[in-house]
């Protein structure tokens, strides 16, 4: 216990903090400028000086640790003199262009000068002149306004870990500048903008468009892009989004954001938004009315259900829609349409892995707090780049590295290049073998854990079968690190799951997790992949993860829903597609998803979707799938409606309406309208009604309310009881030995600056990353005689495309990577695939690709 006196007030502290923090706890404000709560102290501005008894000089409160018995004064004549002097110094070279500066009104310098500053200027000479930099398309930089507090630099280096900017030059000639000179070559998280106290760096997305005091309202909500679910604040004026900013210290992201969350909001107001329902007439989609469109759907679904039965209808749920939307969709499918054929594209990754792990290791095994990663001793990163897929989770890994953790990358992860301790590169498409070998070695060293005997047994069998120890650079180091680690986090990306035999890798990961009692994190590209599972958008489980095949559960739901649920097992995603191909499925209802673009084999899908009697797409844009639909329904998007989302750590959070629009309807409302027209009234007036029902019927959500969720720490297992049929046998591995002898293989890449097809409607993200590139290692480029930026044509058996080459140092094998975000050049169209027997996800390894320099005839 430390006690000290600040301004004659007794302050007691239970842990050592700075005098600044101690004063804050006592409700005493000390002015600061270079200090920021997210950053380490700097002590450059000298505004926070205080008098400390028995210390000769004034001391800076932001660096001085509070000590027992200190007697401190935070205000005095001498202190005021210093502060006035400092502010006078800061103003001598400051342009004083407040009337024109977009920071005015929320500028720390302006506020400080108002309160503590001098009233007249005594500086007679020329001010320092630095022209404003117009080069960067996102960040407006005006270094004349810079007070050189280095907050942006410390943020970029010490928190974001991008190390893209610096204070260049010395003394009064220094200026903040990106290493890339005029424009920024960085991760565009914009976290530097958050901490800049003045108008030296500003987001171009809003400058000259409004003044901070003109905001009508600020709505605290969560991001729409990925499975992290960052908290942020939407600033609204005249029902349009003016700016998205983080809220300091708030939410799991604690005031940090990534490029998508901060700059990706403009899609909401995109002119391309769907505004009215569209109905296909004479082969063409034409504008229609809600009543016509809804009736067409209701009539057609009723007809199909009557003639072919409910099982001829299938639905695809959306990881971008809320729990409420997805809950209503599965209820609509099961009760109104009479079909258990409800699945989602999460089947191709997150949902598949999530189910596999929960079946093996128990429900909630992936429900781990992201913030916990930073305290790990070892972080094992497999099958994806967390800093691109889930950037804020990626920051926790970087922080773990700073705190001395070993970061082990199996495969490659560009965003961890500067942070990794070891990179182990498995032989091409042999990740499963490497994981198995690792598991065997760990098992040999650790022995059985004797909690889940069937897993122990499987591991024993594996280790008896296993041959010599794996001879792979870095493997021993990886082993040693894992064996010595008292606290391990495993971060798993989807690349490993999307393999013909993906479940073999999953067993490896499950075994390692089990043996080391590690925390397991599944990367999640979309904001509600976990939520749609919990809402029941999987063919074999009712809401709350209740297995369909347990009659008791089923009858309880039937009673609550006023209707029978079919007995037959529903179909998974690819079984639905198979059904469409065989004409067993006649109607497909797609909510907020774009299967034609997001699944491999797009042209084939487009083709067979022609078999359908009814294809309904409910979306905010006319996607590739919507383009071929019979009826297209405009939905409301992020910030236009409210609902809950469940992030990858299984935290349930509230996404709130910020703007009102008549552009479309909530997804759940559309469904309940159709349901009513089909004779099954749902009776929801607002989203609360749905949440209330979910809290009643889903044991997982027992008694949850918006009030509780709104507080932000609604964590697994909520009030619910985890319960669900579990595996007691490990599914067998059916392996087809294959050689990979081709020169190059094509694989999908996840981009930091994009997310699905949504981000291409966000001008800012399109400016940062305007076109796809074909990423490859320096060795591959060398082999092809290519350099950065060369345009190439490339083709697989499924199709061909072209793009400029980009060399990526983190890639160490002969795979080349293409993203799946840009119109007309998604990687998925070029991939051939097979289906994993256990996870039912697609496998896309070994897709040979030929690459030619553009313009060179073969």
């Amino acid at each position: 216990m430390i006690s000290l006196t600040i301004n004659e007030k007794e302050v007691t502290l239970d842990k050592p903090v700075t005098v600044l923090e101690a004063a804050k706890q006592a409700g005493i404000k000390i002015p600061t400028l270079c200090h920021h709560d997210l950053l380490k102290p700097w002590s450059g501005c000298r505004l926070c000086v205080v008098e400390v008894e028995r210390m000769p000089r004034l001391q800076t409160a932001c660096t001085l640790m509070a000590a027992d018995g200190m007697v401190i004064k935070t205000e005095s004549e001498a202190i005021s003199n210093v502060r006035r002097g400092i502010l006078e110094f800061l103003l001598i070279n400051h342009p004083l262009d407040c009337p024109y500066c977009d920071k005015a009104g929320e500028c720390e310098l302006q506020d400080l000068v108002n309160k503590y500053g001098p009233t007249v200027g005594r500086y007679k000479e020329e001010k320092r002149k630095v022209p404003e930099s117009h080069k960067d398309q996102i960040i407006a930089r005006n270094t004349e306004r810079c007070v050189m507090c280095t907050r942006c630099v410390r943020m970029c280096n010490d928190v974001q870990g991008a190390s893209a900017i610096s204070i260049i030059g010395r003394g009064n000639h220094s200026r903040m500048e990106p290493f890339s000179s005029e424009s920024f070559d960085c991760e565009y998280c914009g976290n530097c903008l958050t901490v800049c106290p003045v108008g030296a760096i500003l987001s171009r997305l809003y400058i000259h468009s409004f003044r901070p005091w003109q905001v009508d309202k600020e709505v605290g909500t969560i991001c729409s892009y990925c499975g992290v679910g960052c908290s942020l604040v939407v600033q609204v004026r005249d029902d349009s989004i003016k700016r998205v900013i983080p809220k300091l210290g708030f939410g799991l992201n604690k005031g940090l954001l990534c490029s998508r969350g901060r700059f990706g909001y403009e899609y909401v107001n995109s002119p391309d938004r769907l505004k009215t329902p569209l109905v296909r007439k004479n082969g063409k989609l034409e504008e229609s009315t809600w009543s016509e469109a809804l009736s067409i759907i209701a009539d057609k679904l009723t007809e199909i259900k009557g003639t072919s039965g409910g099982s001829a209808i299938a639905g695809i749920a959306s990881p971008r829609c809320s729990n409420e939307d997805n809950y209503v969709l599965q209820k609509f499918m099961r009760v109104t349409c009479g079909s258990n054929n409800i699945d989602s594209l999460s089947r191709t990754g997150f949902a598949a892995a999530q189910k596999y792990f929960e079946d093996l290791l128990g429900q909630g095994i992936t429900a781990n707090i992201i913030d916990g990663i930073k305290n790990s001793e070892v972080v094992l990163v497999i099958g994806g780049d967390p800093t691109a897929v889930n950037p804020i989770l990626g920051l926790s890994i970087r922080e773990a590295a700073r705190r001395g953790a070993s970061i082990i990358v199996l495969g490659h992860a560009k965003g961890l290049e500067k942070f990794k301790t070891v990179q182990v590169v498995p032989p091409l498409f042999k990740e499963a073998e490497v994981l198995e070998a690792l598991l065997v070695e760990l098992f040999r060293a650790k022995g059985v854990r004797a909690e889940l005997p069937f897993i122990d047994k499987e591991m024993r069998e594996l280790s008896e079968k296993a041959a010599e120890k794996m001879d792979l650079p870095g493997f021993d180091e990886l082993m040693k690190a894992l064996l010595n680690s008292a606290s391990t986090s495993i971060v798993l990306g989807m690349d490993l799951i999307q393999r013909t035999n993906g479940h073999r890798s999953l067993f490896g990961v499950a075994g390692i997790t089990y043996l080391l009692e590690a925390r397991l994190y599944l990367l999640s590209e979309r904001p509600n992949e976990q939520g749609l599972i919990d809402a029941g958008c999987v063919p074999d489980m009712l809401p709350g993860g209740r297995p369909m095949n347990i009659p008791d559960f089923k009858s309880k739901f039937e009673a609550a829903w006023n209707g029978p649920i079919p007995d037959d097992d529903g179909l998974t995603l690819f079984e639905i597609i198979e059904g469409i191909k065989n004409r067993n499925i006649k109607a497909l209802y797609v909510m907020g998803e774009n299967p034609v673009f997001n699944l491999p084999g797009g042209p084939f899908l487009k083709d067979i979707f022609g078999n359908l009697d009814l294809l309904v797409v409910q979306d905010i844009f006319l996607t590739e799938t919507a383009e071929i639909a019979d009826v297209v329904l405009p939905a409301l998007g992020w910030a236009e409606k409210s609902g809950t989302y469940t992030n990858l750590e299984r935290r349930i959070q509230l996404q709130k309406q910020a703007v009102k629009t008549s552009r479309g309807m909530e997804d759940w409302r559309i469904l309940s309208e159709i349901s009513g027209r089909m004779g099954q009234k749902m009776g929801y007036l607002e989203t609360d009604d749905i949440m209330r029902e979910m809290a009643k019927v889903s044991p997982l959500y027992a008694d949850l309310t918006y009030d509780e969720i709104g507080k932000g720490d609604c964590l697994w297992p909520y009030h619910g009881k985890p319960l669900r049929g579990e595996m007691n046998e490990v599914p067998p591995v059916v392996d087809a030995e294959k050689d990979y002898k081709a020169d190059f293989y094509l694989a999908p890449e996840k981009l930091l600056f994009h997310s699905g097809t949504l981000s291409r409607k966000s001008p800012a993200l399109m400016k940062i990353c305007p076109e796809p590139t074909l990423k490859m290692s320096a060795a591959s480029a060398g082999k092809l005689g290519l350099k950065e930026g060369d345009r190439v044509q490339f083709s697989t058996t499924a199709g061909s495309s072209e793009a400029p080459v980009s060399i990526d140092e983190s890639i160490k094998d002969n795979r080349v990577f293409l993203s799946n975000n840009f119109q007309g050049s998604g990687v998925m169209d070029l991939l051939s695939f097979s289906i994993d027997e256990v996870t039912k996800a697609f496998g896309i390894e070994g897709c040979e690709v030929e690459i030619k320099k553009h313009g060179i005839k073969a």
Partner: protein
């Protein structure tokens, strides 16, 4: 007093290891390696050796802090940045007597439990770099450096790291940042380098001259050393004398010698028999003394009483032909140029002072400027992150205190008293 630090430097080959060995070089190392490390520190403590880099911090006290820290490895950094204007006292050691420094560093490293030493060398000393590197090579060959020094199982490795010309990198924490490859700017203290220094490890930073005194202490013993020169801060001291004297140069003299004696007895008095006007006694950062203020003992304890500081012992002598406004302006031009920019008062204040002085010097000063100068200096003094800013303010305050009339002359009559 017989030269020790500058022993043998008249010999044109003094930097060669064989010449050094001829005058008894490295015998103090042999002797020291026969002692316990803590006894060496005890000897240094008895000697009363104070750091020669400017602050005069007791060397043994710093060493004890570092050895008390249980973390390893520990780094021994030799501060050879020598950037203070007027200072060139380390240069003869670096260029003429490099083995003395190496010997001092190996003994110190052994005493401190440090196996890695670096010499952080001023960017503008290219010859010294080559000479040091050659000397280090010779020392490795003769096993005075390496993994098994003189077969005693003692390990010490040494290399030279050259700065890029920033004065602030002479400040020990900025030096550490720089050696880590970062921009040279001082760090917050605490933690002190002795606990968290280079690469976050315990680090001892000592000046060239400080470390070069260590073999001498081992040679004659701490007690005998403590009897040389001033009682409170004993030992031989190098003074670099420049400006308007007959014989500018580096002099090895006992600590506490009077400033008058340095100028008149050793440096041959004022050049061309002109009149002395002022002396800057310890490098540009130390306050100026008027001609009648030079009867003071040159040591760390006495100089503050005389209104200045010993600093690096760089005596800059100014005669009657010198314009003090111009001196102040030149000094501030230096400080403004060298301010690292970390803290507001130094970064903005030195620039402002320079601009006001430039104005006055060019006959464009106006009434109130002297007050403004003192006031701005006051806004800097005591408020900066590191002593560089204080030094800059001190120059202005000192000049106005003693030579106010010259400033007034410039402002009122738009001319200089000396021209």
């Amino acid at each position: 007093m017989e030269n020790f630090l500058l022993r043998n430097i008249e010999n044109p080959n003094s930097a060669d290891i064989n010449e050094y060995l001829k005058v008894g070089g490295y015998k103090n190392l042999t002797k020291s390696l026969g002692m316990k490390p803590k006894d060496i520190i005890e000897e240094v403590k008895k000697s009363g050796l104070r750091g020669r880099g400017g602050a005069g911090f007791p060397a043994a006290m710093k060493w004890n802090f570092a050895t008390a820290d249980p973390k390893f490895p520990k780094y021994l950094l030799c501060n050879a940045d020598e950037g203070e204007p007027g200072t060139f006292k380390d240069r003869p050691i670096l260029e003429k007597n490099p083995h003395l420094l190496i010997e001092g560093m190996v003994i110190s490293g052994y005493a401190l439990g440090s196996e890695y030493g670096y010499i952080y060398l001023r960017g503008e000393y290219p010859q010294a770099k080559d000479i040091l590197n050659e000397a280090i090579k010779q020392a490795y060959e003769k096993k005075y450096l390496g993994d098994d020094i003189l077969g005693k199982g003692v390990k010490f490795h040494l290399s030279v790291y050259q700065g890029a010309g920033a004065y602030i990198c002479g400040e020990e924490t900025a030096l550490i940042e720089s050696i880590e490859g970062k921009k040279g700017q001082p760090r917050s203290k605490p933690p002190f380098p002795v606990n968290v220094g280079a690469w976050s490890m315990p680090t001892i930073v000592n000046n060239v001259e400080t470390l070069s005194n260590v073999p001498y202490i081992m040679e004659i013993g701490g007690d005998a050393y403590s009897n040389i020169g001033s009682k409170d801060c004993p030992g031989p001291k190098l003074f670099s004398v420049s400006g308007y004297v007959e014989k500018p140069g580096v002099y090895e003299l006992p600590m506490g010698i009077s400033l008058r004696d340095i100028i008149y007895k050793h440096a041959g008095g004022i050049k061309d028999s002109k009149k002395l006007k002022a002396v800057i006694p310890g490098g540009i950062s130390t306050p100026v003394l008027p001609a009648d203020g030079i009867d003071c003992a040159m040591d760390f304890v006495s100089m503050p009483k005389a209104g200045s500081m010993l600093g690096s012992g760089a005596v800059i002598v100014l005669d009657e032909s010198v314009c003090m406004v111009r001196v102040a302006y030149r000094a501030l031009k230096f400080f403004e140029h060298e301010s690292c920019g970390k803290c507001v008062p130094c970064r903005e204040g030195t620039d402002w002072l320079r601009k006001i002085l430039e104005r006055i010097e060019n006959g464009k000063g106006s009434e109130g400027d002297i007050y403004l100068l003192s006031d701005v200096a006051g806004l800097i003094s005591g408020r900066t992150f590191c002593p560089l800013g204080d030094g800059a303010a001190g120059v202005v305050t000192g000049m106005i205190k003693h030579f106010r009339n010259e400033f007034e002359e410039h402002i009122k009559n738009k001319k200089c008293v000396v021209s």
